[in-house]
């Protein structure tokens, strides 16, 4: 009787151990050569860059139907007649052009002094300014989808509204991205010591939900990300 019990316990323990090992090897991303985590850093924009943007003319809501002057998208249906199907070099193209020439000088003049957006957000330019841009650091050098990291960084950055602090702060937020791009398990991994700054960092992540779907070739169900939000 006692022997049977010992054998039974031993057999169960063996089976459990085997199951545990198999489960571990199946679920371990490292075993497949996939990185588990990536790290990205966001740095607040310089105060110098802010000043350059005041030139924007104030205009709320143009009241008339002349709104098409803001050519973000254009009603195409009105051009249905074949004569207006636009071909290259057609004179009609200019008025309906998405980017009227008038706005172009505006852009170049504003982008130069600001600089930060243009140069410092590239990977290569990450170290170029005291502020500006976001240094993208990858723990895993072999994550083979650089475009995806760029896209999620872009999106989170665009949803980040850091409070004005004037201090050097760094908050790290950890979250997971599911295959469909949903954000899960958002956690404040490292507090900056400033509650408002921490909340802004977390909110940037929440507001960016959903992110682009994970690349189809990526083998795992979720991707973990550490996101650094920094103010200099």
């Amino acid at each position: 009787m006692k022997r049977a019990l010992v054998i039974s316990v031993a057999a169960h323990a063996t089976v459990l151990f085997i199951l545990w090992q198999v489960g571990r090897s199946l679920s371990s991303p490292a075993a497949r050569g996939y990185p588990r985590l990536i790290t990205a850093t966001l740095v607040a924009k310089p105060a110098g860059a802010l000043a350059a943007t005041n030139e924007q003319p104030a205009a709320v809501e143009s009241k008339s139907a002349s709104a098409p002057a803001a050519p973000k998208f254009k009603p195409v249906e009105k051009k249905k007649e074949p004569a207006k199907v636009i071909t290259k070099g057609s004179p009609q193209k200019k008025p309906s052009n998405l980017k009227p020439p008038a706005t172009k000088p505006n852009l170049s003049s504003s982008s130069n002094p600001a600089g930060g957006r243009g140069a410092a957000t590239t990977k290569t330019g990450a170290g170029s300014g005291a502020f500006g841009g976001n240094a993208l650091k990858l723990d895993a050098v072999d994550f083979p989808f650089p475009h995806y990291i760029t896209l999620i960084q872009y999106r989170i950055e665009n949803n980040w509204e850091p409070p004005f602090s004037g201090q050097q702060l760094l908050a790290t937020v950890y979250f997971k991205i599911t295959r469909s791009g949903e954000i899960e398990d958002v956690k404040l991994e490292q507090s900056s010591g400033n509650v408002v700054f921490d909340q802004a960092a977390k909110r940037a992540v929440y507001n960016a939900n959903p992110l682009p779907p994970l690349p189809a070739d990526f083998g795992l169900q979720t991707l973990g990300v550490h996101f650094d939000f920094a103010a200099n």
Binding site: K45, A49, L50, A52, T53, Q56, A58, A59, V60, E61, S62, K63, S64, A65, A67, P68, A70, P71, F73, K74, P75, V76, E77, K78, V85, I86, T87, K88, L98, K99, P101, T103, K104, L107, S110, S111, A114, R117, G118, T122, K123, T124, G125, L136, P146, H147, I149, T150, L151, Q153, Y154, N158, N159, W160, E161, F164, N209, P210, P212, P213
Partner: protein, 453 residues
């Protein structure tokens, strides 16, 4: 409390869009220093997202496809991607014609890091059937990111391109895109009022009903197949449902009393609406499959205009139980009632954003109504319209970045759309009798792509 718009110009460029928050930050710093009193309420959020620059390569033409067709595809795609509020599309031809523009575009594309996004379309046309192949690639690494083929009838070219545009937007941002979405509304035809529908930008306008009676307050099903509306066909305002694919109309509710303002729950299983069948206007929810009714409000005052939260767990509605119309939120079962703390006298027509964080509504102004947005997180209301005439019936685009509404700003009532911060107003209809817009999801039934036999 004074509410004032933080004026921001219509934003055309990713850079400008980005600079929105910089602008407001400076404004905030300045305003706290200069103005000791909080006279100005800042917008809770500026539009902080920058558009992603995406180059549209000239279409590659195969089998009978013409240059004209290729360019038409690019133009539709261009328009659709800009309408998404998240992508800045530009065509290669424009850049090539203007070297300065090319340089700027390259500068613009830097914020996306080391990638340069581009879309290549390949099109073939055989026996009126179009095959459109869309390829999203990274020009810097010369790597294909996504690839998809769309097939359909030549007559449905716009829809095929819309589908491509929405997929591009989804791949790049995770957003849904609005290119496939439609707007239904009420418009007058001689003595009667009929339901019309059009694409998100006002194109492809068509009349959906012709009952020669009053047909009002359309609402879309989540799958884009059906529209519910109030109709006086029987002389009494009843709810009807129209299946758009066969174009068949049937009764949804035939009962005594008025039935109006239907709203489909996000999961498509329930319909909330207003009915006076028990005496005064109350909100009811109906199970779609077995037509079981549940009364949600119990109050002698008038309860109206239900709108579901995107989770389907709550409903926002108008009630005058406190004396004048105010916005209330209740759980989907009618419990947990609370008033939205909006300090304005007369509020109506709430519409919950598909993103969940905002509720658009109208508030009475001297000349009629104006559209406001209530920010749920910040608890603040922001005025979006302030024009002559009245602005009513706001409804959200499926991505939650735009609002459609009816306005009399140009004399008579037409449908307009604007970004959620009040900029970029576009007139969509020119009939002069259009009201109650309803914006569909971006789902389109597969049958719509096919040729009509």
């Amino acid at each position: 409390m004074k509410i004032q718009l933080n004026k921001i110009s219509s934003i055309r460029w990713p850079f400008h869009v980005l600079s929105g928050w910089c602008f407001s930050l400076v404004f905030l710093v300045l305003s706290t220093k200069i103005m000791a009193q909080t006279e100005v309420r800042l917008r809770a959020e500026t539009r902080t997202f920058a558009r992603l620059p995406v180059e549209l390569k000239p279409s590659q033409l195969r089998d009978q496809a013409t240059q004209e067709l290729g360019q038409r595809i690019l133009d539709i795609l261009d328009n659709d991607l800009w309408a998404s509020s998240t992508v800045a599309a530009f065509q290669s031809e424009e850049s090539r014609a203007n070297p300065e523009a090319l340089r700027l575009e390259l500068a613009l594309s830097r914020p996306t890091g080391s990638i340069r996004l581009a879309v290549q379309t390949k099109v073939s046309l055989l026996h009126k059937k179009i095959t459109l192949e869309g390829q999203l690639f990274d020009g810097a690494a010369n790597k294909t990111l996504e690839q998809k083929i769309y097939r359909g009838c030549q007559d449905n070219l716009r829809l095929l391109v819309h589908a491509l545009a929405d997929d591009i937007v989804n791949s790049l941002t995770g957003e849904k895109g609005i290119a496939k979405s439609r707007i239904a509304f009420t418009g007058a035809v001689s003595e009667s009022k009929e339901i019309f529908m059009m694409e998100y930008d006002g194109s492809n306008l068509r009349q959906a009903t012709s009952f020669k009676t009053l047909n009002l307050t359309p609402a879309w099903s989540t799958d884009g197949r059906e529209i519910i509306f109030t109709s006086y066909q029987r002389g009494n305002p009843d709810l009807f449902v129209m299946d758009l694919i066969p174009g068949r109309v049937s009764y949804l509710i035939k009962d005594n009393g008025l039935h109006s303002a239907p709203a489909w729950s996000p999961d498509g299983k329930k319909i909330a609406f207003v009915s006076t069948k028990d005496g005064n206007a109350e909100i009811y929810a109906m199970e779609v499959y077995n037509k079981n009714l549940q009364r949600l409000t119990q109050h002698p005052a008038i309860d109206s205009s239900p709108s579901w939260s995107p989770t389907g767990r709550e409903i926002v509605f108008t009630s005058d139980r406190l004396g004048n119309p105010q916005l209330f939120v209740m759980d989907a079962e009618g419990t947990n009632l609370r008033r939205l703390p909006i300090e304005l006298g007369y509020n109506d027509s709430p519409a919950w954003s598909p993103r969940g964080d905002k509720i658009a509504f109208v508030s009475r102004a001297p000349g009629g109504f104006d559209i406001y947005i209530y920010d749920i997180v910040g608890g603040t209301a922001t005025q979006l319209t302030s024009s002559a005439g009245t602005n009513e019936d706001p409804c959200w685009s499926p991505d939650g970045y735009r609002l459609a509404f009816s306005s009399t700003r140009d004399g008579r009532s037409d449908i307009y759309s604007m970004a959620w911060d009040g900029v970029d107003v576009r007139r969509l209809t020119f009939k002069g009798t259009c009201t109650s817009p309803a914006w569909s999801s971006n789902v389109r039934p597969a049958e719509e792509f096919l040729c009509k036999e």
